[in-house]
């Protein structure tokens, strides 16, 4: 018996388009088993896992984006702070310079005032001393003149040469007196 005769043995000529009810029942049972395990148990699990994975990846990307944005904003903040600090420093320098100039000007003013005051005081002192000298002189000139006149008159004015000698002697005396006064004082 050949293979061909085996396979073609039972030519019952059933219409292949007519379904066998027993086959269909078992087929439905088999499919419902598949539908139950896949549809109710296994596919929900993988859907959940895939969704979680998507979330995780998207979350990771979002976190990275956030971190980058934060870094950028921090950098911006630092730059702003730095600029502000530079500005502040420049302002302080300017202020200090102004203050220095002001202080210098004040000092100069003060020094000048002091100098003026000293000069003034010196003037006043000199004036006072001069006045004192004048007063003293005035008092002495009087008595000296009187003394000189007395001598001149007492010696009787004989000749010019004699008068001259009297005057010279008087002046020498005066000099001696003033020298003696200086020694004693």
């Amino acid at each position: 018996m050949s293979l061909a005769t085996i396979v073609a043995a039972s030519e019952a000529n059933k219409n292949p388009l007519l379904p066998d009810m027993a086959e269909m029942t078992i087929g439905i049972f088999s499919f419902l088993v598949v539908l139950f395990f896949l549809g109710k148990v296994l596919l929900p699990r993988i859907e959940k896992t895939l969704a979680e994975r998507t979330d995780l990846i998207e979350g990771g990307l979002k976190r990275a984006d956030d971190a980058q944005a934060e870094a950028a904003s921090t950098l911006e903040q630092y730059r702003a702070q730095l600029a502000e600090a530079r500005h502040e420093a420049a302002r302080l320098r300017e202020e200090a310079r102004e203050q220095g100039a002001q202080i210098l000007a004040e000092m100069r003013e003060q020094a000048q005032a002091e100098a003026r005051r000293l000069v003034e005081a010196a003037h006043v002192q000199i004036e006072a001393e001069r006045l004192q000298a004048v007063a003293q002189l005035r008092a002495e000139v009087g008595s000296i003149s009187v003394e000189l006149a007395g001598r001149v008159v007492g010696e009787s004015l004989e000749d010019e040469a004699r008068q001259r000698r009297i005057v010279d002697r008087f002046l020498e005396e005066l000099e001696q007196r003033s020298a003696a006064e200086q020694v004693t004082s």
Binding site: P16, I26, S30
Partner: protein, 264 residues
């Protein structure tokens, strides 16, 4: 000199035919004879559940082994079938489309698995109950989402056509949607598997006959050709099995979508 003389054999009563699909019961449960296709269809269910159990029972965020394969297949059904057809409703219907796709595909694949060697879906019963189930689903969804009259009006009287066309169009649309759809849906899959199996079996018999049973000088090249064609057809069948599973699931998604929304 006729072909009979050259080949020294006639095929008229021995070529594989419908008998290929007519299985005798292997054993009986009560009065029901259990045949090979019944055992295979149970095996298909078992294989699909076992594989997805291995892949998705404890899914990890970082997939390993079977989960990788399962995810590729899952994503294939989602991206190639569910989303193009159902758009934003895709996720919800994945739980039906994935079982359909793998039930059909593994059923087809039985055709080239040693010792099974029979495409489960070449028995009309299996494609038919799937098609009828989807047909009920389509009409149920249509009535639920578009209203009883709305559903029939939407597919029988699409707007924007000349009035005199409607009597003809309505009749055609009604027959094609309500009667032809489940039939073509089931028969497309069934006929492809049926014909493919018949062709592989035919070339197989040619090879076996001319190289083993009846070796003749002129028959040997024919036998070699038969073997080559058997291998070629098997490869081609592998392709057709996947394509038909894809098409069957794609149509299922399309029918579901046509129930959910009017404008398709």
């Amino acid at each position: 000199m006729s072909a009979q003389h050259l080949l020294a054999k006639t095929f008229s009563d021995e070529a594989p035919g419908l008998g290929l699909f007519d299985w005798k019961p292997i054993f009986y449960i009560g009065s029901v004879g259990i045949t090979k296709p019944m055992i295979l269809v149970l095996l298909v269910g078992l294989i699909v559940v076992a594989f997805f159990w291995a892949a998705f029972a404890k899914p990890k965020l970082v997939p390993r082994g079977a989960q990788n394969v399962g995810e590729v297949l899952y994503v294939f059904v989602r991206e190639q079938i569910a989303r193009p057809m159902l758009g934003k409703d895709a996720e919800k219907w994945m739980r039906l489309l994935v079982p359909i796709f793998f039930f059909v595909w593994i059923g087809n694949l039985m055709s080239i698995i040693p010792f099974a060697q029979f495409p489960v879906n070449s028995k009309i019963a299996f494609p038919l109950f799937l098609a009828v189930m989807i047909w009920f689903l389509m009409i149920g969804l249509g009535i639920k989402h578009q209203g009883f009259f709305g559903y029939f009006k939407n597919f029988m009287f699409p707007p924007g056509l000349p009035i005199f066309i409607y009597p003809l169009l309505a009749a055609i649309e009604f027959v094609s949607t309500i009667f032809v759809r489940p039939f073509t849906h089931a028969v497309r899959l069934f006929a492809n598997m049926f014909a493919g199996h018949l062709l592989v079996a035919l070339f197989c018999v040619v090879g076996y006959h001319f190289l083993v049973e009846q070796v003749t000088p002129l028959g040997v090249p024919v036998g070699i050709l038969g073997v080559i064609l058997t291998i070629a057809m098997t490869v081609f069948e592998l392709f057709v099995q996947a394509v038909q599973a894809y098409v069957f699931t794609l149509l299922a998604a399309f029918y579901i979508s046509s129930g959910l929304h009017a404008d398709h």
